[in-house]
Symmetry: C3
């Protein structure tokens, strides 16, 4: 399982790229049944590493973000030694939420209800009127913690008690993205989308460009749908690259909107990878776009989309991040719309799994990976 | 079961018109229980013929309406030979909705996601990149169809695989409405109502004018509540007629608002019939009003109301359709309001079935018919 | 169980005031589980006496209020003899709601659907077209009634068929509040709150001032949090009093806002009592504030708050009720906010019951009482 093909190694379509003879879209229940949704939450979202942000969001000691993860509120916070922690946003006294804002900086975490106070490492350091309670020891009441890890600058959380180490899980991708300088990138924009479709439809949608001619006329003009070549074709990490027409960039104007994020060898390619189960990673010469997918119910998904640029880019005259953001916001919405149409049709009693075309080998591979996680 | 009494044959109240000694409103569960609602959907709404529109809505080849039927989206479309089809609005590829608009005209049905294309007869005629998929045959992937039929110009759909033919089902009404020229009428207005009450309450409400003095003061002035005489008193089709005061019409002004729809013999009568399970047919000298009832949940019903006039009426100076529409919109809302009050009270633990009066024989007959369908 | 300590008898903290060694907040299920909510409704809210209003709201014959009680709509009405009745707001004919307004005056109760009419004592006195229905007798169809009672001017309802008499239930409080003249007080204001928290969190919140320094800075300045002394420490009625700083009052301005409600002996105290299961009674020298709590779901509670003053106060120049209302509206919202934060945190998988401090003996006692009712 040691896939190490880097993007610059030219990929080409193989027989395995063609969907197998019987490959079809999945049965209805996977998109509408609450039992399947519960099973997914248990077997995937409470077991696997989940993208929750980028380390640039919490650069300094006391910086935090509060992130909803599978219905839980997690405080992702940097302590004075620079370590990143994940804490459940729940006081050990009577259970109150501790932090109400989405992000900020604090010297300590103090409960707004009865003023119990925790250090940045989660230890209880203040609890008024508890001294006369027999046997009470502050050391017994630290904040409940969740596993967190950082990979290529991105912060992941895992709610399983004993997960596989993050680096081991991502071994197949080791070194693959070093040209993009992801650990030092800085965010320029976040947009959240409330999509009325099952989360898997967005992964299937991201995994093929068969839909591009009709759904994305603007994208299609800059990056031909039939230029897609995949280098990760099986497993939890899937994708490849597409050509960008000469002299063009994926922006509204068609021009590059910022300094390059790194020493990119082929500036006329855009790379698209899905990182199971909740990350979409889109690498452009001058920016990285990353999606977090958060299933809310069988028919609803929250999608958080961030655009990251090289820190040097921000102060240059040619920095026009909105040129890329507007382009992808438009394209995102085109995608979510057809995903919502799919959700509606799949919920019909008339729906039956349909055959994948020769351009849909990656959706088929993603489905296989997904199904392997459920059993 | 060969009831053939036509409206012009004077009806008169019979002993059977009086509700039987023990006739009472139905127990609470029929109005609030989700199990009963599911049973109704299965035994009635997925089995019987349902009013979905009028043929005037799709006059030409390629004309279509998209109608929600029991949670399903159906495309009702006319093909080039003039035949009317019903198709589930679901692509055979990956299940996307095909048509998003409520109505329109098309040369072929093309999926907005991956551009699979179907003819007006439902045959798959285009599927990009499917040629290299082994064993794929377009002929295997026509649109899924639903039964449709036309009676007196009205379009009905039936989601059962093998329903009784529409004409046979409606045999007892054969010829009964020929004076109203319903096949050639043209719609002037549609209003949709979102009513917070069980669908059966609207049928019971429509079936008696015992409530008219208090609920409909305007109607009561034009058409006396105690003039009701029923000629269909048992079975799936129920109703009769009421007098219209001399020189009056059921409009806001009290004057006729259009040319007569046909050669009506008694211009001072209005006929009201309920056509089980989702149609209310109200025949006036100068217009026909028709309601579709669509149960959404035990406590909620979507009602679609159309007003139809003779095609010649539209170009005459005396054409004032809004005079009738405003009158019935007001009267409809008065009815829906008391139905909503009933829903609220019936949901109480204090509710018990109450006795029907001598003016409520048709609601009692409707209840009997309904209960017979549940078995 | 004959607790008769009156407020003026100085209370002092006892060992039992200290929460027992193991006292902790309750497990998660009591705040989120629909099964527990259903059990509470059955064992508590359909069994115990519930505060529904004050007799000043229905002073005259025919005066009524319509109150939602556990999802039921109750008509609380005064008849011509001065008796207060509770009727289910449901017609005996076909179940319609009878009264749609929140309050008013009527000579008789007439159904808006078919005009059945009931006297103020609930007897059916008019039913059109029922004469020819065999065996129909008006006497068989009175309105369904609910138990009501009046205590200290407050109206209580009980939906149990055979409840303990109201006076017996409230025996432990007999005479305790006579100084406040509650039967003759008049309402100045009602505010309703829709709180996204379990109803028990509001009782726990009301039962301690451990949270006051952080949550209520304005209250804290006028009434020190550590001045609380409890005289009812176990059972369905719990509470005590707190000091008001010399020359101050619980108002925005800090000044008294009205004439005293009675011959209060200690004007520098405010008394707080919870009356199981849905009443909070807050007695100030110049006004009485009373909360009704109505659980809507495990996570949602409707709270109705009334401010009552002495009838003589209304016409005096020093009458500034808004000074008190604004103060408590602000303080109420501060409380509901932390209750909502608690609800959110308790719903987390990370929540575990936490230890009560020495200042939380009354919440612990309230929890014990509550748990005893569930058995």
């Amino acid at each position: 399982m040691a896939i190490q093909i880097k993007p610059r190694i030219a990929a080409f379509r193989k027989p395995s790229d063609i969907s197998s003879e019987d490959a079809k879209s999945m049965p209805q229940k996977y998109f509408v049944a609450s039992e399947i949704f519960a099973e997914e939450q248990k077997s995937i979202f409470f077991k696997e590493w989940l993208l929750v942000g980028h380390q640039s969001q919490i650069a300094n000691a006391g910086d935090y973000v509060v992130q909803r993860v599978n219905g839980e509120s997690l405080i992702i916070i940097r302590d004075k030694r620079g370590n990143v922690h994940g804490f459940f946003n729940v006081c050990r006294h009577r259970g109150s939420r501790l932090i109400e804002t989405d992000n900020g900086n604090c010297a300590a975490i103090q409960c707004p209800y009865h003023a119990w106070t925790y250090g940045l490492d989660g230890q209880l350091i203040g609890a008024p009127h508890m001294d006369d309670v027999p046997k009470f020891e502050k050391a017994d009441y630290p904040l409940q913690s969740a596993n967190v890890g950082v990979w290529e600058g991105f912060i992941f959380a895992n709610l399983d008690k004993n997960p596989m180490p993050l680096e081991r899980w991502l071994t197949p991708l080791a070194g693959k993205f070093s040209h993009w300088n992801m650990p030092i990138l800085q965010p320029a924009k976040r947009i959240e989308y409330d999509v009325r479709a099952n989360w898997k439809l967005m992964f299937e949608n991201y995994s093929e460009c068969y839909h591009c001619p009709g759904v994305h006329p603007q994208l299609q003009k800059i990056s031909p749908y039939d230029s897609a070549e995949n280098d990760l074709r099986e497993g939890p990490f899937l994708g490849g690259f597409m050509k960008i027409n000469a002299g063009k960039s994926l922006t509204m104007s068609g021009n590059a909107c910022a300094a390059f994020v790194g020493k990119i060898e082929n500036l006329q390619q855009v790379f698209y990878y899905s990182i199971f189960p909740n990350m979409l990673l889109s690498l452009h010469p001058e920016y990285v776009m990353v999606h977090q997918l958060w299933p809310q119910s069988p028919e609803r998904t929250l999608i958080i989309c961030d655009w990251l640029f090289h820190p040097d880019a921000f102060n240059r005259n040619d920095f026009k991040p909105e040129d890329a953001i507007e382009f992808w916001d438009m394209t995102n919405k085109q995608d979510w719309h057809v995903c919502e149409l799919s959700q509606q049709g799949i919920a019909s009693r008339a729906y039956e799994p349909g055959p994948f075309s020769s351009r849909e080998s990656i959706p088929a591979a993603w489905d296989r990976e997904y199904l392997g996680h459920l059993k």
